[in-house]
Every structure is written in C-alpha cells, then in structure tokens.
C-alpha cells in the first residue's frame, strides 16, 4: 500500500490522472464493502439476539435445555446452548485432530518427496475434493461411509477403550465421531493447499545446506521445513477450523440430532450450525430469535478461537525469532 510503482512511461498523462485514482478508489470500495457487510451482519443479528440473551442470562451458554416457546412478541421458552456448543467443539476438534496430520503429510509429500509427474495430478485431485459440495459429503457419509467404514472402526475403538467416558458405547447410528471424520475429509484439502504453499516457500538454500551436512530426507523435513513453516501451519489450521465450526449440512446429516448432553464421541449430539439449519424453517418467531442468538454465539466462538490462534502464532514467532504478520 505504501509504495506505488512508477507509472509506465508510455501512458498518456491525462489518462493516468483519471485511471489511477479511479483504480485506487475501486479497491478501497471493494475492501470497505467487506467491513460494511460484516458490521451489518454483526449489528442486526446481535440486535435480534439480545432479548434471548437477556432472558436466559449466563445459562444460555452453560445449560442443556432447549425448549422453544410459541410467542410472537416475547421470549417464553428455555434456550440453553450447552449441548450445541459441546457438539460444535467436539466435532471440530476431531476434524482437526485427524485432518492436520494428513494434510501435513500430503503437503510434505507433494513438496519434498513426490516427483513433479506424480505431484501435479495429486494436487488436482486434492483440489477437486475441496470443490465437492458439502451436502454430497453428508449424503455419502450417511448412506455409505458411516455405516460401511466408520461403524466397524467405531465399534472396535469402543470395545477396546470403552472404559474412558469419551469412548463409551454403544455406538449410535449417527454420532460426533462420524460427523467429525467426514468434516476432517472436508477440511483436508483446505489445510493441505495452504501448507503445501508454505512448505514450498522454505528457502531452497536452507534445505540444500541441511542435505550437504548429511541430513536424511526425514531430518530435513523435521528440522528445516516444519520449524520454518509452523506459523503457516497454524494459520492453515485456523482456516480449516473455521470451516469445521461453521459447517452445517454435512454435520446436520451425521451428528444425530441429540437433545441431551452425551460426552461419548460415539453418541448423538448436535452442533450450533446444524441446530440452526435443522430447525430454522419450522421455528416460531421467538424460536427464530433464539436461533439467531445461536448464530451470534457461533460467531463469537469463531472470533475467540481465531484471536487465540493469532496470539499463539505471535508467541511462537517470538520464540523462534521471526516476524509474524
């Protein structure tokens, strides 16, 4: 923004005097539009949600009862989002836990291991995965992947580790685990696309230097590529997490729509976004306000996680002595 390159010498003077400011202002408008839309969104949703927050108080976040009322003018039901917040966090956490190692593996393979002839088609395929609509992931998971592949795996884990509350059976037909794994598949392309760019930005000289000192391929990746890329990996993770937190339809199809709080990842629950998409259509007027309050909660949750991530990135940047945006 600060340094404007000198105009090309062939450009006529008159034209430049109009074109440059016009171009500059169109850029400003485009950027400002994002902020205006964001402000309008926050403003109007928060306005609608305030009566719900006021009537429910702190129990909106901690309670586990969601019982919509039928009023047109006031808040008469009980709206507590604890079950949905838990579901959102658990499914997103499972998704990141599974997707991150896979995405880093793909990134390393494409930049440091695979030959160009192998890498190029693979990049296309991974990007293709990102273009599949989420409802397709949801339906595929619902009818094939969950019952055919994930169910036996879940049964196995639950049989072996059922003593831990997180893995207690019996495995229910739709649950946090299924939703989380399908979410993971959905965010792998997003994360891997970014980490691949980050890995390929590692200076060639440093890698070559490590090789020259006798490092193996694995040692180069571990001690040169990965440490160099850590802020980028965290950034990519945040982008994937943002997608996972807000994903609606695939989660709605697979999470099992539970209305009670279940700790085990093999039992049914509900996420914030899935609850909104599931009940918006048939909601009463006050129920719609409550769903908007849920949306505001999701919004706040996403901001919170993003800010936390920025702080982590900054701290890591300080430790490793790098300037981080």
């Amino acid at each position: 923004m600060s340094s404007v390159p000198a105009a090309a010498p062939l450009t006529g003077k008159r034209r430049r005097s109009i074109a440059d400011p016009a171009f500059r202002w169109s850029l400003v408008v485009a950027s400002a539009l994002v902020l205006i839309v964001l402000a309008l969104m926050i403003g109007s949703t928060t306005f609608d949600a305030i009566p719900v927050f006021v009537s429910q108080g702190f129990s909106f976040l901690t309670g586990t009862t969601w019982d919509p009322g039928f009023s047109r003018t006031e808040i008469t039901g009980t709206y507590q989002a604890g079950v949905f917040i838990y579901g959102t966090l658990v499914t997103s956490f499972i998704a990141i836990l599974v997707a991150l190692p896979v995405a880093i593996g793909i990134g390393l393979f494409l930049t440091n291991v695979a030959s160009r002839r192998v890498a190029q088609p693979l990049i296309y395929v991974v990007e293709l995965l990102a273009a599949v609509p989420s409802v397709i992931y949801g339906l595929w998971g619902l009818h094939f992947f969950a019952p055919g592949v994930l169910r036996p795996a879940a049964d196995g884990i639950s049989d072996s580790f059922g003593a831990f509350p997180l893995f207690t059976g019996p495995v229910i037909s739709f649950n946090f685990f299924f939703a989380g794994i399908v979410l993971a598949i959905m965010i792998v392309p997003i994360i891997s696309a970014i980490v691949r760019e980050v890995f390929s930005a590692v200076p060639e000289a440093e890698r070559q230097a490590a090789y020259a000192m006798g490092a193996t391929r694995w040692e180069v990746m571990r001690s040169v590529v990965l440490p160099r890329s850590r802020p980028g990996i965290i950034g990519a993770t945040m982008l994937g997490l943002g997608r996972a937190l807000g994903e609606t339809i695939a989660v709605a199809l697979l999470i099992g729509g539970g209305t009670t709080l279940n700790l085990s990842i093999f039992q049914q629950g509900e996420s914030i976004a899935a609850k909104i998409v599931n009940t918006f259509q048939e909601s009463t007027p006050e129920g719609v306000d409550a769903l908007i309050a849920l949306g505001v909660t999701l919004f706040a949750l996403t901001i919170l996680i993003n800010v936390a991530a920025r702080l982590i990135v900054r701290r890591i940047g300080d430790v490793s002595g790098e300037a981080v945006a």
Binding site: D67, I172, G242, I255, G257, T259, V277, Q281, N306
Partner: protein, 370 residues
C-alpha cells in the same frame, strides 16, 4: 499495513458466518423453477377460462408435492391463472401470510389463538383455515425375523421415553401373541429437524400418555429423552435401517414409497390398524370438528389409523383483488372436489366427505368482505 492485518483477521470469521447464514436462508429463497413450471403449463393449454390472476402462496413443505401437481393440473385448465407455492416451512408460511406478502399460506399446524389474532389484525378481517389433505405418521422398525408388529399408545410412549428398552419387554410381547421378539435393545430414532411429522407424532403421544405430556410435550421440535436424530424422513429411515432393533417414525407416504416395515397401532376402539391411505382417510370419521376447522385428529376409533393430522391452507376473508379471490376459490374448489386422484397417486389421504363440505364452506368465505 494495519488495515491489511484487520482484513486478514476478519475474512475467515466472515467466511464462517456467511456459511451459516447462507445455509439458513437457502430454505427461504423462492423457487424459480416452480414459478416457471406453473406459467409454462398455463401457456400450453388450449381451453379458455375467464379466471385470471397471479396467486402467491408459501408455507408447509409436507403437502408441497401434491400442491405442485394440483397447481400444474389446474392452471392447465385455466391458462389465465398462475399459482406459485413456495415450500418454505409452516412457520415461514404463517409469518409471510401474516405480513400479507402472500395471498394464501400453508401450514401443517393450525394457527394458535395468538397467531390467528395477529393475522386477522393484519388483514383486518377473519382468516379461514381450509384443510386440504391428511397425512399420517407411520412407526417404522427394523427387526430381523419380525414382519408384523402391533403397538399401542402406552407402549409407544414408553419406548420413546426410554422406559421400555428391550424388544422382548412384556409390554410389547403382550400385544404381539405368536411373534417371537428377540432379546435385543431398542434403538430409537427421531427427526432432528423441526417438522410437522414430529408435531403430529408428539401431539398423539401427548394426548394419550400422561407421562409423555409431563416429560416431553408436543411440538415441531421437542427434547427427546432418548434416541438418535436423523435429518428428514430419509435420515430417520437410515438410522432405523442401520441398526437391528431400530424403531422410528416417518411420514406415511415415505414409508409406503420405500416399503418400510411399519407397526399397526391400536386405536381408541381397541382395533389394531395398519397405516394406509384408507385408514388415514378414515381417521377423521367421528372426530368432533369445530366450525373454524382448527382441529387435531385425536382419539381415533373404528377403522381409523390413530396417528394422523391435517394440513391447511390459510386465506383471508377480505382484502384480496376480486380476480385473485375468484381464482383462489376456484382452485380450492377444484382441489377439494376433483383433486383426490392426484393426492392418492402421491400417497396423500384425501379429507373425508363430511369435512369436505365444511372445507368448501370456508373456501366460499374467502374475500367475502371484499
């Protein structure tokens, strides 16, 4: 640089929020394809009718398939009329109708007194309910080696409350002499989305079981004590199919189309009735129906299947253009008198003769105040 940094922070957040909001609004957007269908049907027809007008309605999704077929057939005979029905959900249907942004509304539940008062206040006159078709809710199950099952309301409530948890529980066994019920856990499935189907199902249990009404209640979404939620009929059917020992509830038309195993329900006269179009149509016989046609189908006896409900068109008794009102009246007359065949083809149960007369009386009140 600080502006850029702000952008970098804001973009992922905005993207996440847009995802949610976009998903919310998608259900609400008008369907262009349906608009196109109705008008193209109109232009193809050769016959001449004096009716004309563009009608816009919105509401319940449950009757949407039969409404679209009815509209297609009706505008084929009346090329001057276009009718658009947008399946945005009953809640939205009532809202849009109350806001007077539609000419008629559609709802799977009759309006509450409060909703009715608001709508009548907006239109400045009475608003009439016109039942169009019946829907029934079938109890579907997946139990290896069992192909006939009978349940009564008390047992059904106990299962969905989580009090009866094994298939060979005496409560179920007593109703099913000669059926060998396995010693397997019952896996309950319900709808996770807000739905008129859930409303009919829970209204039935609420009426029949004190335990149910005190612990759960009724509505389009309730707090289920047990069970896994599936999205839509399809999701519930998948949840049932994927567990031996699964049980859940789906729309009758969905159960019929997909050939699911369904339970016979014992009605108020003690008869075990299989869900079917005939037994659904019979459900309203002998039901006391109030003049304003706001009714639940409860306490069904004789040959009627007990878990059933109506879906309604909402229309005002004033404030419409005369041409539009005539077109709407003609359309509703036609659906009630000549639309049964189309409804049955699509697995909807027509309303019975007695109710048809009452419905037509309400149709004739449309725009009576001008």
């Amino acid at each position: 640089m600080s502006f850029n940094r702000l952008l970098v922070r804001a973009v992922p957040i905005a993207a996440a929020a847009t995802l949610v909001l976009a998903a919310c609004s998608s259900g609400n957007s008008p369907s262009e394809s349906q608009r196109a269908t109705s008008s193209s049907d109109a232009s193809q027809s050769g016959s001449v009718s004096e009716l004309s007008g563009d009608l816009l309605g919105a509401g319940a999704t449950f009757p949407d398939p039969v409404y679209q077929e009815w509209i297609g057939a009706f505008v084929g005979e009346n090329p001057g009329v276009t009718i658009t029905y947008e399946p945005i959900g009953s809640g939205g249907g009532v809202e849009q109708f109350t806001a007077q942004s539609t000419d008629f509304g559609g709802s799977d539940a009759f309006m509450s007194d409060e909703e009715l008062a608001a709508a009548e206040d907006a239109w400045g006159c009475d608003v009439v309910h016109i039942p169009t078709v019946f829907g029934a809710v079938a109890v579907a199950y997946n139990l290896e080696g069992v192909d006939s099952l009978t349940l009564d309301s008390a047992t059904l409530a106990s299962i969905f409350l989580g009090d009866v948890t094994q298939w060979n529980d005496p409560a179920i066994a007593d109703l099913n002499d000669g059926v060998s019920l396995p010693d397997e856990p019952i896996i309950v499935a319900h709808r996770s989305d807000g739905s008129g189907t859930t409303s009919i199902f829970t209204t039935y249990l609420d009426d029949e079981s004190n335990d149910w009404s005190s612990q759960v209640g009724k509505g389009k979404e309730v707090s289920w004590p047990v069970g896994v939620g599936g999205q839509g009929n399809d999701g519930v059917a998948a949840a049932i199919a994927q567990n031996d020992g699964g049980i859940g509830y789906v729309e009758l038309s969905y159960a019929l189309e997909n050939d699911l195993s369904t339970a016979a329900m014992v009605n108020a006269d003690g008869n075990a009735i299989e869900p079917s179009l005939e037994s659904t149509a019979a459900a309203a016989d002998g039901i006391d129906i109030p003049d304003d046609l706001r009714f639940n189908i409860l306490g069904v006896g004789s040959d009627g299947y007990p878990i059933a409900g109506a879906t309604w068109i909402l229309a005002p008794t004033c404030g419409m253009e005369a041409g539009k009102a005539d077109a709407l009246k003609a359309f509703l007359h036609w659906t009630l008198e000549d639309g049964d065949g189309i409804a049955q083809d699509l697995n909807y149960a027509p309303i019975g003769d007695a109710l048809q007369a009452q419905s037509l009386a309400n149709v004739d009140r449309i725009n009576e105040g001008g």
